[in-house]
């Protein structure tokens, strides 16, 4: 699953521009399920199990990642941009990016530039930059040259390698939510007990958009959202402020900013973890949100649970997960997809 995760993370797919990542996922699931792409671009898959259950289960993850969209070309050849999804400017400034021309598909190296630190006032040096004070530099000498290669509306992506950090951890961009995608693809290659819908959603990062449409289409009774969530167990963070920790196993929360989860499903997850000696943790703060927010209120309501892999530095080019958390999340989800039908 690690190799699969690497391939998924290194393929770009900003919200609204998920074509490449969707094609990769299709390549991975072709032959093991029926699938179709919905009007927004979400990939809706159906896999037969040994039994057809009384109630319909949908497992989902989002395929989009945070990134950038070019908004204008300036006289000096640099580009202004907006963020697609929530990205803190402190993890944007001083990074390498790739700008992709929508029409030609050609890619250009760039960097996120800003005024040199030497030329800032003391107040400016001590404040995070505003995103609109940053620019993308692809090396164009002037506006005319830049416009030959890039147009407003083109996307830009973080670039980062996919590497091991120490012996247990992985450092990469887009772990949110390629972790979820990788677990789903893996699950789709297993023999399933029950018929199951698997949905790879678009546009999660800009407000849970893809899942709103796909949940309507699938019309499930149960939903399990596979996610990657903020772990704040970093230097200086104490107690509840850590929210969740690397190495603590899958994260199953009772509530986040978009959803109050189904209590029975929440308890079932911890029961399964206990019975199978899997580590499992909840969030110690009400923080974050994901596609569960749109799914659980879809149509007449869907009983929903989210299982997340904890990740440090989530919306940056340098997310960090502990691989064992992903393996344990996978085991938990696999058991959940069977036990959920006993409710």
């Amino acid at each position: 699953m690690k190799e699969l995760l690497r391939e998924l993370c290194l393929t770009d797919g900003v919200s609204g521009g998920e074509k490449d990542i969707r094609e990769l996922i299709i390549e991975k699931v072709r032959g093991v399920c029926e699938y179709r792409t919905d009007p927004l671009g979400s990939l809706i898959c159906f896999k037969k199990g040994r039994k057809s259950p009384a109630k319909k289960l949908m497992v989902c993850a989002h395929m989009d990642e945070v990134g950038f969209i070019i908004t204008s070309v300036r006289s000096d050849g640099t580009l202004t941009f907006g963020t697609v999804g929530g990205i803190d400017p402190s993890v944007i400034i001083g990074r390498q990016v790739v700008v992709c021309n929508y029409v030609s598909g050609k890619r250009y190296n760039g960097v996120i530039g800003s005024t040199a630190v030497h030329n800032l006032s003391k107040e400016e040096r001590e404040k995070s930059p505003r995103t609109d004070s940053l620019y993308i530099d692809i090396g164009a000498a002037d506006k005319e040259e830049a416009e030959k290669y890039v147009s407003p509306g083109d996307n830009a992506f973080f670039t980062s390698g996919f590497s091991e950090l120490g012996e247990r951890r992985i450092l990469s961009k887009a772990l949110d939510d390629r972790c979820g995608c990788a677990m789903m693809i893996q699950l789709m290659h297993e023999e399933l007990e029950y018929d199951t819908y698997f949905v790879f959603n678009v546009q999660e990062e800009i407000g849970l958009r893809g899942s709103q449409a796909s949940a309507y289409s699938v019309d499930p009774d149960f939903a399990i959202v596979l996610e990657c969530t903020t772990a704040a167990d970093i230097d200086g963070a104490e107690g509840a402020k850590k929210v969740c920790s690397l190495g603590g196993g899958p994260v199953v929360s009772f509530m986040d900013r978009t959803t109050l989860y189904d209590k029975e499903l929440y308890c079932l997850a911890f029961d399964i973890a206990r019975e199978n000696s899997l580590p499992c943790q909840t969030k110690s703060m009400v923080a974050g949100g994901n596609d569960a927010g749109s799914i659980h209120v879809s149509r007449g309501g869907v009983r929903t649970l989210t299982v997340s892999v904890p990740c440090r530095y989530l919306h940056s080019a340098s997310g960090v997960i502990e691989y064992a958390d992903m393996e344990n999340s996978y085991k938990l989800v696999r058991l959940l997809t069977e036990r959920i039908h006993t409710l």
């Binding site: 164009a140 950090l165 963070a237 340098s318 960090v320």
Partner: protein, 337 residues
């Protein structure tokens, strides 16, 4: 000499201030092609170019070999590495920045980034004392490899942009090193008007300390600091910056020798070498400031390569400026045989 290949090799060798050995060793190897007797003296790479004769004044070509970075100060019980800065870092860009920690072996790390829920809306930049590096290792694992005092550098590949522009970390001042090497390659078949000594100096980013002792050791009559300076992009002050691709920036300042500045300008004009003038009101914050007051004093000037995003992992230069800088230095020093 292939300028891009040389420069990318130099930028890929690490040399945070005070731990310049890998970069200095590579620069020494490259310099020996032109100065066979070059050696490392108290950290500085020093090489005499050509035959020195008593009738000629002495001139130092200096570029600093160090780069900004961080240094390990402490390992916490949770396995985070606490750090301090080496040189003038832009602390605004540290969160989630990938780094390499240079201990008994190199290990990957990432600077901790505080998630939004712990910031409670504050946009204050974290002071360096509260900054930590995450390596994915425990304290005991780390203590086998890392100790306080070990250097940390940004982990970022060199990449080409459009045209002849490139991005890398440590272009400040490996660009200067490359420009000097290129000048020497041009001068190889020529006489020189000076007894030239090259110094690739340490610890510039900590206050030009390597140049201070290097200047004393060589004791030149003239010195040219080949460094980088600010290149314009929207957001910078146009009158304080050079432009990328428009040639070397020749310094004029009360602390530089005005006659030497003028000679360099005349030399560029005569050779049709594009150049820009960089006027400074006081000290230049380059090694030139050290050479000028060395021993009984020396005549100095700056020749700078324009660069965007100084002291960041994404510095940007135009390779044409490195080439033109080398040409200017060669034109100034060389005489037809």
């Amino acid at each position: 000499m292939n300028i891009k290949e040389t420069l990318f090799a130099l930028c890929s060798a690490d040399g945070a201030s005070g731990s310049e050995s890998p970069a200095a060793q590579l620069a020494l190897d490259l310099l020996r092609e032109y100065c066979p007797d070059a050696e490392i003296v108290s950290g500085n790479v020093i090489g005499r170019f050509g035959v020195h004769t008593e009738d000629k004044p002495s001139l130092v070509l200096d570029a600093h070999i160090d780069q900004v970075g961080m240094i390990v100060t402490h390992i916490t019980d949770e396995g985070f590495i606490k750090v301090s800065n080496l040189g003038g870092l832009d602390l605004r860009l540290l969160p989630a920045q990938p780094v390499t920690v240079h201990g008994k072996r190199d290990i990957k790390g990432v600077v901790c980034s505080v998630p939004p829920h712990l910031l409670s809306g504050s946009a204050e930049v974290l002071p360096i004392a509260d900054t930590a590096v995450d390596t994915g290792m425990s304290k005991s694992e780390l203590e086998e490899i890392i100790a306080p005092g070990d250097p940390i550098t940004f982990d970022v590949p060199c990449r080409e942009l459009l045209g002849s522009r490139v991005t890398a970390h440590a272009l400040d001042d490996r660009s200067g090193v490359a420009a000097i090497l290129y000048a020497l390659s041009l001068l190889r078949e020529m006489e020189t008007a000076f007894n030239v000594t090259v110094i690739f100096s340490t610890q510039e980013e900590l206050g030009e300390r390597g140049a201070k002792i290097g200047a004393f050791t060589v004791d030149p009559d003239y010195a040219i600091a080949v460094d980088v300076s600010f290149a314009y992009a929207i957001g910078e002050k146009e009158n304080k910056c050079g432009k990328l691709g428009k040639g070397p920036m020749i310094g004029i300042s009360p602390c530089l020798d005005r006659e030497l500045s003028q000679e360099l300008i005349a030399c560029a004009s005569a050779g049709d070498i594009p150049y820009q003038v960089e006027v400074m009101e006081g000290l230049t914050s380059t090694n030139a400031d050290r050479y000028s007051v060395n021993r009984e004093g020396a005549k100095v000037c700056t020749v700078s390569i324009p660069l965007r995003n100084m002291h960041t992992p994404v510095e940007v230069i135009d390779l044409a400026d490195v080439e033109l800088t080398g040409e200017l230095l060669a034109a100034f020093i060389g005489r037809e045989v």
